[in-house]
Amino acid sequence: MSAVRFLVNGAPAEVEAPGMRRLLDVLREDLGLTGTKEGCGEGECGACSVLLDGQVVNSCLVPICQVDGRIVRTAEGLALAARERGALDTLQEAFLEFGAAQCGICTPGMLMAARAYLDAGGGPDHEAIREGIAGNLCRCTGYQKIVEAIAAVAAGDMA
């Protein structure tokens, strides 16, 4: 057991955990941030995607010892700017309006992959967007409306 300190969604966190405990379990069980989901536990589905220092990672494959001193962002932290309850950021709003979330279990991870794509300067080109979210499986939507929602944000259509 050792103490690991990091920032999660802008707030400092400190957990006592075995170094190899998965970031996913620390988020969900130790910090109560259940917005991050587990789909396969082996890095295939992307449901557990979070941002680690702005890079999208599968939190089921990240041991907590690697998170010390770093910045973690989850779906719960996307709308931090809009503080009031239930408020959504532009990307979440686009997902809602375009019908990009159905059952919703892949959605938090998908949003984080999309956030990373947009933050890296990704544009509205559909092929590039598909490449950007290729690590995140969705079984409900056929991806069409997810791609359209991200493209709308990239093109500045959500203003």
Binding site: Q102, G142, Y143, Q144
Partner: protein
């Protein structure tokens, strides 16, 4: 026939003021929503606030695990607990601990909850014992210390060699021999399809919580609360009020959470009962893939007689489905398969023989399409091969044979209304420019064939590595339950005005992503003259809602939606009658304050004029059908056999579109599952065990594998449903695979008759066609 086609992108469709589904202005936010409400539970899903089963916290809960057989068939002689281990800190449950019947409630009730000592193990992942402990580490440490003593028995894996028949049907019309005698051409074909996993991204999950009355509540990921309720009562010997089922937010189902959650709920409840505390049964992906139901594999044989102009005159179809180790829903899956196996085509002389048998793999069960995708792949590929033989366009042969109003199905049912086969065909063919693209691909194929060069791969004849193709399929899907299923179930849906003036919809129909929670408020609000936001959805909790039937068979919008509309109409009439006919919207608050609660329970009444005899299989097998056409374009890599599905145009007649964005979402998602079925998704087995039982090896389409999709929604309403809706969920699943396989043929000239059309199968077919014997 009234057929209205919504062109994509759909601008809010014109609706009359009297329209039940009218969306009032002001209920919307932005133009992108096209005037329709946003997904009701969308914000909670998007912010991570939505609580799926594994997100629920029950203080003091233990973790549960299942000890499974590792053999496909054996006699269970003994269950031995390692004497070196201190078992006092954990709980072990075997069949001897089951207070009720050791049965998972289903059609035949042949599946034990846990195999008893002396009983027969019938598949390699069969539950034999259960283990619960305070932490996961203890479970991991102890699960291998429970040893099963068994005597192996000979397993059966080939459904055609199994002598245990779960169900069989024969459907016949006309005179088959006379039909073949009058045919100009007779073509035979054999088609094979394998397992498909539903692959909801949220694994199976259930938490059982013991109550003070000796009862147990389960909170879980499920489609059919009352299936689980019935299963709990039977296995745990509980009364209706002691068993309580609450649906948590559910991360996809696709049929996979129709019958399997009953198993999980009983297991969790048995452990919770024995240890007197909540128990969490949350499957990991590996266990979920290993043990839960899949789509039924099938062998389908066609013998078809046609006139030279393409007119169908005789069809002889044989279907064999692999049921796996237990019956589950197999008879109903097979029935739907048999009834759809001729495709949406008129044919005077038909024989359909179908049987499903028992094998020693985990039980197969419900998956989106429910027997239809298997048989429609077969009949559509057969028809495409006939068109090729006769030199007729795939579109033309369908125009010639597709059902028209007034036609009769093989069971003798007359298609009186709501027949849009020709309309969806026309719309898809036009939007995809099918004939023009087909001419281009034919020209390219002719040039490839004529070059005579073999510069790289041994299987191509020109410099181009990629060949493009376009393919077409047409399909039908019976709306709602087969036969008199709906009459037997007698669903009840409720709408109530509470004494504090809230309006609530109470149904057991679940939201699992398809949009139940969004469209029901729309339907009810339309009847009451209110905005959808004014309507609440009661939680799906058997302590609160009556049984509106399972959330399956694309029946929710059509059947349960219809019941809620009728209930809302009665509520409105009752309230308005108490207020001199003043509009409900004006008086309901006053009414609630003065009169108190008004609750309407609406029970299903048979659709007039629809009659089916389950014994003889004659009559209207379905009250109506949905119709779908799919045009797919593909690129095939001639060196590797890899297929990229580039574009899909899907035209689907759903009777009535309630929410175009959600409806398109159903078509797009179902189409991609069909493309996965066509190209990627396959279960390999060895001695009855699934070899690729991880997400690293069971492959589903990613965003890069998915085509650009154009969805055309067509409305040919069903007049006996108050809103005309016929359902949408399963329809697109039926046509995607044969369209892709036809496109692969158009690109390469070879027919792949076994799904999925993997690179290996495509290369093998190319090799056979090229006469190449020595390609590795």
């Amino acid at each position: 026939m009234t057929t209205r086609t919504l062109p994509p992108p759909v601008v809010a469709p014109e609706r009359s003021a009297a329209d039940a589904l009218i969306v009032a202005p002001g209920s919307t936010t932005r133009g992108r929503t096209r005037g329709y409400p946003l997904r009701r539970e969308g914000p909670s899903k998007l912010t991570g606030a939505a609580k799926y089963t594994d997100d629920l916290v029950f203080p003091g809960a233990w973790y549960g695990a299942t000890i499974r057989s590792t053999e496909p068939r054996a006699r269970l002689v003994a269950i031995e607990l390692d004497p070196e281990v201190d078992w006092s800190t954990v709980v072990v449950v075997t069949a001897a601990d089951i207070p009720g019947e050791n049965l998972v409630s289903a059609i035949k009730e042949d599946q034990p909850v846990l195999v008893p000592v002396g009983g027969e193990i019938r598949h390699h992942a069969e539950p034999v014992a259960l283990l619960a402990a305070a932490d996961r580490e203890t479970i991991r440490r102890l699960r291998s210390r429970i040893r099963l003593v068994t005597e192996p028995l000979p397993p059966v894996f080939d459904p055609e060699r199994s002598d245990h028949v779960f169900a069989q049907y024969e459907i016949a019309s006309g005179d088959l021999d006379a039909g073949f005698a009058g045919a100009d051409v007779v073509i035979e074909g054999e088609y094979r399809v394998g397992h498909q996993e539903q692959l909801y991204i949220e694994n199976q999950a259930m938490i059982a919580v013991p109550g003070e009355d000796g009862g147990i509540a389960v909170h879980g990921s499920l489609q059919c609360p009352y299936y689980v309720h019935r299963a709990l009562r039977k296995a745990l010997g509980m009364s209706a009020s002691q068993a309580r089922v609450v649906q948590a937010e559910t991360g996809g189902g696709f049929g996979g959470k129709e019958e399997y959650p009953s198993v999980l709920a009983i297991h969790a409840a048995l452990l919770a009962r024995k240890c007197g505390r909540p128990v969490r049964m949350i499957y990991e992906r590996h266990e979920d893939l290993t043990a839960t139901t899949k789509r039924h594999p099938a062998v389908i044989r066609h013998r078809t007689g046609v006139k030279a102009d393409g007119t169908l005159v005789a069809e002889d179809v044989e279907i064999v489905m692999d049921g796996g180790a237990y019956c589950t829903l197999t008879p109903v899956v097979l029935s739907r398969g048999a009834l759809h196996s001729g495709g949406p085509y008129r044919c005077p002389n038909v024989r359909i023989r179908a049987r499903a048998t028992r094998t020693n793999t985990p039980p197969n069960g419900a998956m989106r399409g429910f027997g239809a995708p298997q048989v429609e792949f077969a009949v559509e590929t057969q028809l495409n091969r006939i068109a090729e033989r006769l030199g007729i366009s795939p579109a033309a042969i369908r125009r010639r044979n597709a059902y028209e109003p007034g036609d009769t199905t093989p069971t003798g049912g007359v298609l009186r209304e709501s027949v849009a086969a020709q309309e969806v065909l026309r719309r898809a063919v036009e939007a995809a420019e099918f004939e023009r693209v087909r001419a281009v691909t034919a020209q390219a194929a002719a040039e490839r064939g004529g070059s005579g060069e073999v510069p790289a791969g041994r299987l191509r004849s020109g410099p181009a590595r990629t060949a493009s193709g376009i393919g077409l399929a047409l399909g039908w899907h019976g709306a709602g339950f087969t036969g008199s299923g709906e009459v037997h179930i007698g669903s009840v849906a409720s709408v109530e005005l509470t004494d504090d003036a809230r309006i609530r919809v109470l149904i057991a129909s679940t939201e699992m992503g398809q949009g139940t929670s969004t469209i029901f408020p729309m339907m009810v609000a339309g009847e009451l003259g209110l905005l959808p936001d004014a309507i609440e959805m009661a939680p799906v909790d058997t302590a609160e809602v009556l049984d509106s039937g399972p959330t399956v068979a694309s029946r929710t919008a059509m059947v349960v939606g219809g019941l809620c509309i009728e209930a809302a109409r009665r509520l409105r009439a009752e309230v308005e009658a108490r207020h001199d006919g003043r509009p409900f919207a004006e008086v309901y608050r006053e009414d609630a304050a003065g009169h108190g609660r008004t609750r309407i329970d609406q029970r299903f009444e048979p659709y007039p004029g629809i009659d089916f005899d389950d014994a003889t299989y004659r009559g209207d097998a379905y009250p109506a059908f949905g119709w779908a056409a799919c045009v797919a374009t593909v690129d095939v890599d001639l060196d590797t056999g890899e297929v990229a599905v580039r574009d899909v145009v899907a035209a689907d007649d759903v009777g009535r579109v309630i929410h175009p964005i959600l409806c398109e979402g159903q078509v797009e998602g179902g189409t991609l599952q069909a493309i996965g079925y066509a190209t990627l998704e396959e279960i390999k087995t060895e001695n009855g065990r699934y070899l690729n039982d991880r997400l690293a090896t069971y492959i589903i389409p990613t965003a890069l594998d998915a085509p650009t999709m154009t969805t055309i929604l067509v409305e040919a309403p069903f007049s006996s449903a108050p809103h005309g809706a016929k359902g949408v969920g399963e329809l697109p699943m039926d046509v995607g695979a044969p369209a892709v396989v036809a496109a692969i043929h158009d690109a390469t000239g070879v027919w792949v008759t076994e799904l999925p059309a993997t690179p290996e199968r495509i290369l093998a077919a190319l090799e056979a066609a090229a006469g190449v014997a020595d390609v590795a």
